[in-house]
Amino acid sequence: MEEMKDIRQDFYVNMGPQHPSTHGVLRIVLRVEGERVISSETVLGYAHRGVEKMAESKTYVQMMPVMDRFDYVSSMLYEWAYVGAMERALGITPPERAEFIRVIMGELNRMASHFLWVGAFLLDLGAFTPFLWVFDARERILDMFEEVTGQRMTNNYFKIGGVHYDITPEFLKMVDDFLKMIYERMQDVEVLIESIIFLERVKDLGFITKEDVFNYGLTGPVARGSGVLVDTRKTEPYSVYEKINFEIPLGTKGDCYDRYRVRMQEILQSAKIVEQAVGMLPEGPYAEKAPKVVKLPEGEYYFAVESARGLLGVYLLSDGSTKPYRFKLRVPSFANLSIIDKLLPGNKISDVVAILGSVDIVVPEIDR
């Protein structure tokens, strides 16, 4: 019996950095007792490239394409934040048409990102078909991007004072077709997804309270799933969001199901925004004249947008030269990931992937 005391019932499982459902190179060290998680520790740094330091040795314009590479799923929203900070510094206001084009592109990108999330979340839960169903819709969005920007991902479309190219009539037709099919497609997808097994898996799982939202600095759908209204588009409107009529979907309980619902409704809200923005699209130039050599006046500049994952802020500290003295990003995924270690203990290993999936992280933006 003496020997028995030394036998420990718990052991460690290394989830990641190579694991199908840690969404990239995230590593979670799980201490488990059978199937139950006792404690967990997230380990970061496998995708660290030192981009913030790199920015200090690049000119402002050279940094533009790099902005796409943080969150490659919603890259244009990243460009928007960076361009917004520089425009604020230079005192340039983009023309009305450029702002509307940005809203259209940004919302389409948000939809593409949410589509990817829905598919990946259901893959984590073991359902394969919804992934392909939403990818069909996402594919159409990427085709639209290709039509206007020439790229399907990492578009490099925004520039100081506007956008690089005007949108084409072909693009508007594609948007029109897309908006016609999307509502019906979303209904089909919901019918497919919300089977009793799915509801059993995600309801009452991974509660995030309102206090947690403030304590951990959560933003985006994760915070809104808990019923906290944090959305930069409403609370601190930028661009032309004030002119557009849309709602912010909120959850009530803050479980995985609420976070799923919020994202599904956000896709429809984004569709509504795109519909309105296309209708209100004014004629005129699509870009303001920008200085050939970008030199920000000395000082600190900050601009925040609502990325698909939450509040995204770009902070620039300029010493008046062509390169930033300090470049800093406030990324939503990093804050959102921080709550994981609080949510996991007590749950089963199967729930680990469900909770991690519901938070929606993109590792390259956490490790930058």
Partner: protein, 323 residues
């Protein structure tokens, strides 16, 4: 002379049977994989394999060839003997199970008087193979997959046996040919619809397929018990899975859908049509539902399926007694 003649016929029968089983097995391994990929493709708004052969018919053969050519990797620290043996422990029971399947009134390797019992006893052996694979792999994910598999198989064998017991009570026989003959007027799916559903659900669970694929849950346990397997050893696990899928469908056909009974077409054709109809349903379910959590799976079995099967057994017995 008589003795050699007997030997000849016996040997001849064995050789014929082995050849027949191998043909059905190979045919099924190729067709079922192709069917799965095609059906899943069309469910997912795509075409599935199209390149190799007409509509990708030869895709499974090409994949098999690739897997044969691949290097068999034995990772460090594995229990080599168990690791090498495990795939065959999973694979051979499924070949043995072919013996009692009545493809038609004449096409049956051996019409055992305990055919039903034999079938379900042999099917349990595969679980040992899965546990061997998980244990020998020296990998935590594999071990967890193996432990889950044991728990699941033990749990779901009970509703399976309980659901088919009512058939045995109806026919008073464990001989599969007699069970088929008893259905010449009415298929057992009509009076025994609830056991049919219980059998189908439990069979999918025994097959470790979605929504019950927790032993190899890809997004949780990487690939479960066969995480460390590659090349032909993996292919053998893979083939065993598809053979088992055919076998449980064949058994469902025999027990509930009237076996080879059917008008106009020859009996063996009817048997394959019905079997592949069930295979289609199993594939359809896989590509529609997400995966259950292990504890939910256990709850579903012990708190719902088993009591339901017991109640059905009671009701069947009472009705038979009253009649």
């Amino acid at each position: 002379m008589e003795f050699t003649g007997l030997l000849n016929t016996f040997l001849g029968k064995v050789i014929l049977s082995v050849a027949g089983v191998m043909i059905v097995f190979t045919f099924n391994a190729l067709i079922a994989v192709w069917l799965e990929r095609k059906i899943s493709g069309h469910i997912q708004l795509r075409l599935g394999p199209m390149e190799v052969g007409p509509h990708g018919l030869l895709q499974s053969a090409a994949d098999g060839l690739k897997l044969i050519c691949k290097e068999i990797i034995t990772p460090q620290g594995v229990d080599k003997k168990l690791f090498a043996m495990a795939p065959y422990m999973v694979f051979f029971p499924s070949l043995l199970m072919f013996i009692v399947i009545p493809f038609s009134d004449k096409l049956q390797v051996q019409d055992l008087n305990i055919g039903l019992l034999y079938f379900f006893s042999i099917s349990c052996i595969a679980t040992i193979g899965i546990f061997m694979a998980g244990w020998a792999s020296n990998n935590k994910y594999s071990l967890m997959g193996a432990v889950r598999s044991i728990a699941q198989s033990i749990a779901y064998e009970i509703p399976i046996i309980l659901s088919i017991l009512s058939i045995v009570i109806l026919t008073q026989s464990l001989r599969l040919s007699e069970i088929v003959k008893a259905q010449s007027n009415m298929w057992f799916i009509v009076p025994q619809f609830v056991p049919f559903i219980i059998y189908l659900i439990s069979a999918i669970a025994e097959l470790n397929r979605t929504p019950f694929d927790i032993p190899e849950a890809e997004s949780e346990l990487v690939a479960g018990f066969h995480t460390e397997y590659s090349g032909m050893r993996f292919a053998i696990f893979f083939m065993a899975e598809y053979t088992n899928m055919f076998l449980v469908s064949a058994m469902a056909t025999t027990l509930f859908l009237g076996g080879w009974n059917g008008p106009v077409l020859p009996p063996v054709v009817w048997f394959f049509i019905k079997t592949y109809a069930i295979v289609f349903v199993i594939i359809w379910v896989r590509w529609t539902f997400p995966r259950l959590r292990p504890d939910q799976l256990m709850n579903f079995c012990w708190k719902f399926l088993t009591p339901l099967a017991l109640i059905n057994l009671l009701v069947t017995t009472f009705i038979l007694k009253l009649l």
